[in-house]
Symmetry: C4
Subunit: 303 residues, 4 copies
């Protein structure tokens, strides 16, 4: 089936490196129990179950994922909240030893809607400082906890000289927001919305079927490859480090490896490519939050 | 299997054009971020994620859908809130260029239970005016945001001379409500209840499996074709414009194309057929909201 | 695989009629819009969508179900709220014409937790009277709206001389509660928890996959047949009368028809068999609601 | 595929008995209606449906499970709230007759977050006393209702000389918490989060697909066997004693039986092995609940 558009999109096609038709960014958000502690930041009940479920990540899950990546020879991008690195100082070195990128992900996995601008800035600077101290390297990328971004955050990411953000979903290939490279994520290829389960009455949904979720991930991958897009898979240490999830990821990685013209790369590599390519500036959108439409409603008395 | 009814329904069989056994209405609700802004109409928080997720529709998703229709040679009906056309003036011309119908869908995607009668009327008139201005053509059909309808709305749709509404589900073939042609929709063949996901805590449900949803859509199609009904598929720009959903729609469209006696038509065409056919008047029901039954309850003291 | 129990249950095996290994009760709750009106009993908003979605049942869905039963030669039990029969007087005669049983199901689909004892009694008597008037026959069975039962209801069902109730799930074969024959239901083989969808923000869950639900229904059927139980399928006019659901029911009915030793019977027939069989009295349990355990809690001060 | 870890986990590999690569703990939580009564501990409404749904367990479901275990020759661990044993005195003897382990599970299925330390202790002592009285044997293991544990509970379990707890999920092989052997559970291989359904508006989720849940259970089993872990399946009398669930468990048990190097053992046996093996002390973690992080937040005024 030819894929020519009879109706042209106002946007040009994204151009990948010579010989590549699409990109796959395999990313891991190493949250461990930081979101749990954030949600209970004013007092942690004297109970162990929720904490232990998440401690499985730094104890076991992360290493299963690192092993998986190594078996496939894939390099990924690992986003680690400062607190997780602080309390598990063996994590960043282990990730680096695997040849992966490390990116910033808040300090206490600060949920954007619940944190002030100053808190974001403080968390960003503190985690940057900690990462430099623990690894001797400066991270170049940021991914927001729970994938939210404000104009203030964007400005701060640029002020600190980071090369990219990876939190929004406005395209399915790299783009720019106010000139900052954005490497888009997508909820449909995130493990948490399907496979996060904590118990204790905290869960909104039951666990979804691994088989059908994988089927959708594979379909997204196959179609994004056809469309020349960027497939950003996001998994978590304590969720996809569980035994059955590794089996799903093996099928996923098999499919990606089978495509010779797919570029498996870290976010850092993709951001650098974008910044130096003809794509730069072609997909730059403003960090614009629209006005509320309430005052324009029809048939209302605006006295 | 013979399909003769041993117990006769009080309603006659619907009669399709010569040589046709059923109809397929392929519709697209081009909502973009209008429902998001409606839900936050009194104040939009200074955050980008939810907006960017929906901006994917006008940037990319809509064009993937238009391309899909073009590859199959199918003409569909596209319902566009006025605000989406106003802020994306390239949309209506692109849809028309594909040979599709454009219909009304509110101005700010006004949710019926949250809007007054006057607001509905104002929104309808304003979007009609805008569509004429942007396209030089007058729309003939209306689909309600979130598929709700009041007697007032019905009267206004008739007063403005529109040819049909497409918001209710009382039959699974065309019918009439107070004399207005109704082209029924059905939640079971809508993409949003299965595949809408916004993040930020707004979601009631996780994403459902593409494979099993498609399986149900195909079953509905196959059985409606057998029963001689009308299959109204409804998809959205920012939801089904995502890469993996196009693959589902290709399988759906393959199945429809394979039926020689299925009539793939726009809502405008189906409404015009209905109005000029023997079906007219046979399925006319009143726009009647039943009385509350509370006063008739048993064993109560109604003093 | 031999099915002998090495550990004996305290209850004997249920004995079916000569040559039969299990029973299948195919039941239809013809609710139409009665639960909708019940939930809005103090005021129905001036909107049409929810009503029209449910009116599909008496207009179309019921007749598709009656046709389905006729094609398979199966007789079922149809439970109809009085209000539905009152406002659709063609329904009871159509069901009887198909050779099916009609049973009581409340008058306004009164939800037990929301209705008084007197209201239950009034509704029961009024619907009985209406059914006699509309059909010339006296119903012998009752199924509670939403499958709840109180000791008062039980006593009233006995007082009116009904032969059975079908609302509880304490066994998966017929039993007795305070001497009244109980033909058990089971949520797992009800269509509403999987396929009810109303729109308008009323839905707790999205539509579930037809294929996987059918797979579970078939497994329940196959295993209940093996265990010698009773398979009570419950479907609804406006839910399973939808085109795609008929296809599921055809597969279900195919499986049932394929078992020569399965007894497909109406509830009335099964209740009559039970009352005259050796099973009578063997599975009689008290209508006993246990005491609250709060006063027995440990380490509490009960001063 | 070789499974060597290129990046070493900080934890050693778990060592199973000679010739065994993994373990399978098949456990049954015999809750019957105790969680229902706990949730209504201050007053049980005069209604029968919810109670009868759960009474199916002690009447039928438990015996189907015991029969299933017997057919496979598997010995499991059955956790029974004291109240269930008290009101169904035939249960503990039947379980013991099957050669299974009986463990403690609270008295009234006390939910940890809703019970005091003193209540936990009282419930533990009372159920221990009852079990000794009913069986002449002293239980050696505890599993918490709803899988929660506090430092107080841990200390009490040790004080009473129990050999293990089975309520946490911090590893997927045996470990120790403050020196107490912990046999980890996992929500992903529990039946309740997928198959519990009570009706009456109490349900958070619809029933999930048996086929896809089994598919995930089998994947977890296969991968845990590969990784040398411990597969703890947890089912409930009134949930998995239903006919269709037995069919799922047969497929699950077939897969386990097919692995010659899988050690199917009771929790008591696994705990005893652990305590006498080289693993002892290698996976001992503190019963540590982390401090709240609120006071460390950035950009806040902590005046």
């Amino acid at each position: 089936m030819t894929d020519h558009l009879t109706i042209k999109s106002p946007w040009p096609a994204y151009e990948w490196p010579e010989g590549k038709q699409s990109a796959a960014l395999l990313s891991v958000d190493v949250d461990a129990h930081s979101p749990f502690l954030w949600s209970l930041r004013d007092g942690v009940p004297d109970r162990l179950a929720g904490i232990e479920i998440r401690r499985f990540g730094p104890r076991t899950g992360l290493y299963r994922l690192l092993d998986l990546f190594a078996r496939y020879g894939f390099k990924g991008s690992f986003y680690v909240p400062g607190f997780v690195a602080e309390t598990n100082p063996e994590i960043l070195p282990a990730i680096l030893e695997g040849g992966h990128e490390i990116g910033l992900h808040g300090y206490f996995h600060e949920i954007v809607a619940e944190a002030s601008d100053a808190e974001f800035t403080g968390a960003l600077e503190a985690s940057m400082e900690l990462f430099v101290k623990q690894t001797g390297q400066t991270p170049v990328g940021f991914r927001s906890p729970a994938w939210e971004l404000t104009p203030h955050m964007l400005a701060e990411i640029k002020r600190l000289g980071l090369a990219y953000d990876s939190s929004l979903s406005g395209f399915d290939h790299p783009y720019e927001v106010d000139g900052l490279v954005e490497l888009p994520v997508q909820w449909a290829v995130d493990d948490a919305i399907f496979f996060k389960f904590e118990g204790g009455g905290r869960d909104k949904w039951p666990l979804q079927s691994g088989r059908t979720v994988l089927d959708d991930w594979l379909r997204e991958w196959r179609m994004l490859h056809r469309y020349g897009g960027m497939f950003t898979l996001t998994v978590h240490d304590w969720i996809s480090g569980r035994a059955q999830r590794i089996a799903l990821l093996e099928e996923m990685f098999d499919a990606i490896r089978a495509e010779n013209t797919a570029w498996v790369a870290t976010a850092r590599e993709i951001a650098a490519f974008h910044a130096g390519s003809a794509n730069k500036g072609r997909f730059n959108v403003p960090a614009h939050v629209p006005d509320a439409i309430g005052h324009r409603r029809f048939g209302q008395t605006h006295g």
